[in-house]
Subunit: 183 residues, 2 copies
DNA sequence: ACGCACATGTAAGCCGTTACATGATTAC
DNA sequence: GTAATCATGTAACGGCTTACATGTGCGT
C-alpha cells in the first residue's frame, strides 16, 4: 500500500512523469524504497483512478510525448493522513547473510568473492550519495524545510552504505586472518 | 524462493521443528531474514514435497506431539548449489524514511514521536544482540567454523541496529535544534 | 545502420500479509 | 479457571518480480 504514498511524497514537491519517477527511485529514493519501472507505472494508473493524482498529456516535438502527473487535494489529504500513522520497521531479507551463515559448507573463496562484490556495490552507492550531498546540500542553513527533511533521508542512505562497507571490511579481515592460520 | 534456503541453512545445523524455527527466526535470524509463522509452516510442507527435508512425527507425553525435520542429501545439494550463486542486495521499503521525506507537511511533534519510537525499538534489539553475543560468542578463538560464521551474521545485526539508533539520534538532535530556533 | 536516452505500458506467477483455526499441557 | 507455552495448520488477498512489448528522436 505504501508505494502509492512514496510516490505522493515525491510528486508533492513538483509534478513529474513516470519516467522521471523511475529515475528518482533509482537515484535518490533507492536507499529507503525500491520499486521497479513496471510497479511505478501501474501504481500511477491506480492512483489516477482513485483521484489522488491527475495526469496531463504533454505533446513534445523533440521527444516522445509524456504524461505529467500532479497531486490532487484528495491526494494531499491521503498523504497527510498516512503520515501521522505509526509505521513498523521494514522487513529485511538479505540473501548474503544467509550465505554467510552457511558459508562453512562451501569454498571460502566463494564467500570472499561475494563479500568483495558487495563491498564494491555499497562503496559505489556511498560515493554517489556523497556526490549528491555536495551538489545539492552544501548550504543547509539557508535551505528550505523540505530540503532539510530530504537531507535527513540522504543521511540515512549515507550511514547505511557506509555501515555495509565497514561490515564487509571487518568480515573480509576475519576471512583473510583465517586463511593465514590455515597455511 | 530464498525462504526455503534460509530454512535449509538453519536446519542443516541440527534437525528441528516448525515451532523452534519460528523462534529462531524471531530471535536470531530476524536481523537479516523475516518470516511469519504461517510462511514457515507452509514452506516446510513444500520443501518436504520436493524432498529437500524429511519430517518425522515425534510422540511426546508431556507436551503436544511435534514434527522433527532434517535436511536430506538432495536438500544439502540444493543449499550448496544456491550458496555459490551471486546474490543481489535486499530491497528496502522503509516507511519511516518516506515520512521523514514528507515530514514538513505535518506537525513536527508527530515525526519526533515516530523517531523516538523507532530509536527505542532498535535500542532494544541492539541490547538483545549484545546479550546473545555475551552468552554464546565469548570465546571465538576456540569456536567451531560454523559458530564463527554465525557470529559474523550477529555482527551484522549489531551494526545495523547501532547505526539506526545513531541516525535516529542525529535526526532528533536536528529536530530539537530546529525547534529552538523557532521559539 | 546502430545504440542510447526518452517514454509508457500488459500479464502471469510467486511470495508475503492478514485473518482464521485448533488443541494439549503446565503453572498459578 | 485462565493465562502462558507448546505445537501445527488453512485460505484469501494483494503486492512484487519477471518477462514481454512497443515506439520516438538524436547522435555518430
Amino acid at each position: 500500500m505504501s508505494l502509492a504514498h512514496t510516490i505522493l511524497a515525491s510528486l508533492v514537491h513538483h509534478p513529474t512523469t513516470g519516467y522521471e519517477l523511475v529515475k528518482d527511485f533509482n537515484e535518490r529514493i533507492a536507499c529507503y524504497w525500491q520499486a521497479s519501472q513496471q510497479q511505478i507505472y501501474r501504481e500511477l494508473s491506480r492512483m489516477e483512478e482513485q483521484g489522488w493524482i491527475e495526469g496531463e498529456r504533454v505533446i513534445q516535438s523533440d521527444r516522445p510525448n509524456k504524461k505529467l502527473y500532479r497531486v490532487t487535494e484528495l491526494g494531499l489529504k491521503t498523504l497527510k493522513d498516512w503520515l501521522v500513522q505509526p509505521s513498523n520497521p521494514a522487513a529485511i531479507r538479505e540473501e548474503l547473510l544467509v550465505k554467510v551463515l552457511a558459508g562453512y559448507l562451501v569454498d571460502i573463496a566463494v564467500i570472499r568473492a561475494e563479500l568483495e562484490r558487495r563491498r564494491n556495490y555499497h562503496q559505489l552507492r556511498l560515493e554517489h550519495y556523497y556526490q549528491t550531498e555536495q551538489e545539492h546540500f552544501q548550504d543547509l542553513d539557508s535551505a528550505t524545510l523540505s530540503m532539510q527533511f530530504t537531507y535527513r533521508t540522504l543521511r540515512r542512505g549515507i550511514r547505511y552504505e557506509a555501515d555495509w562497507v565497514e561490515w564487509c571490511d571487518e568480515t573480509l579481515d576475519w576471512l583473510n586472518g583465517m586463511d593465514q592460520s590455515n597455511v
